[in-house]
């Protein structure tokens, strides 16, 4: 299982803030997870239509899309940050 979190407009487009995704793949990357999420619903497909607009954190650390994800990870998708 992967805990997937969404923030800001990614959350609005997907329609919810968090979900658990069954995940048994080994050696899978964030890109593989995105491909799977896009298949879940039209809203997911719209949210991830242009992944270049989205940033990702795995277990609360910024990573690139090539980073590995696996069972038990917390993966968050969000737009570039705008604090300060």
């Amino acid at each position: 299982m992967i805990r997937v979190l969404y923030f800001a407009w990614v959350k609005e487009r997907v329609g919810h803030a968090a979900e658990d995704v069954a995940w048994t793949h080994k050696e899978a990357s964030v890109l593989d997870l995105i491909a799977h999420l896009r298949s879940l619903s039209p809203r997911h497909a719209e949210a991830f239509a242009d992944p270049s607009l989205i940033r990702v954190a795995v277990n609360q650390e910024h990573v690139r899309f090539e980073a590995k994800v696996g069972d038990g990870d917390e993966v968050a998708f969000f737009p570039p940050v705008t604090g300060g």
């Binding site: 954190a57 968050a76 969000f78 737009p79 940050v81």
Partner: protein, 147 residues
């Protein structure tokens, strides 16, 4: 370590006074205070969303890095979340050091890198609706200068 993420309004005068008093033995204190801009009356309110847990972790990492790069006696990073009104304080960064160079540079480093790494997202409320603020390329360029 002093990282605080708060939803309540804070008083910059109280925070700055307390930090200065606590660090009276340091020769230098530098502060950066950010306010919510009203963009000539166009912005009615600003809502700050964040990633609880990661926010504190990222800000603590920034503080740790600042302490490694400069000789600092004390650091405060205070950031608000939730709904804010124009003119309200949104972020306060303070650094204390023996001499001004460390405090000033670390303070600039912290606000520059916080802007591109801490997981906060601003949504502006304007008369015609709400919109997510887009990240500015110049902020990313400024943060990169510290690499």
């Amino acid at each position: 370590m002093a990282v605080r993420v708060v939803s309540a309004l804070f008083d910059p005068a109280v925070e700055m006074g307390a930090f200065a008093a606590k660090n009276a033995r340091s020769g230098a204190v530098a502060s950066f205070l950010g306010h919510v801009r009203d963009e000539a009356g166009a912005v009615e309110a600003m809502t700050l969303e964040h990633y609880p847990g990661m926010t504190e972790k990222e800000l603590t990492c920034r503080e740790t890095e600042a302490r490694q790069r400069w000789d600092l006696a004390d650091v405060l990073i205070l950031h608000r979340v939730g709904r804010l009104l124009p003119g309200e304080p949104i972020v306060l960064v303070q650094c204390a050091s023996a001499h001004r160079k460390d405090a000033l540079e670390a303070c600039t480093f912290l606000i520059d890198t916080l802007k591109t790494s801490a997981p906060f997202w601003k949504q502006e409320e304007r008369h015609d609706g709400a919109r997510w603020v887009e990240a500015k390329p110049e902020d990313a360029a400024r943060a990169k200068e510290w690499d």
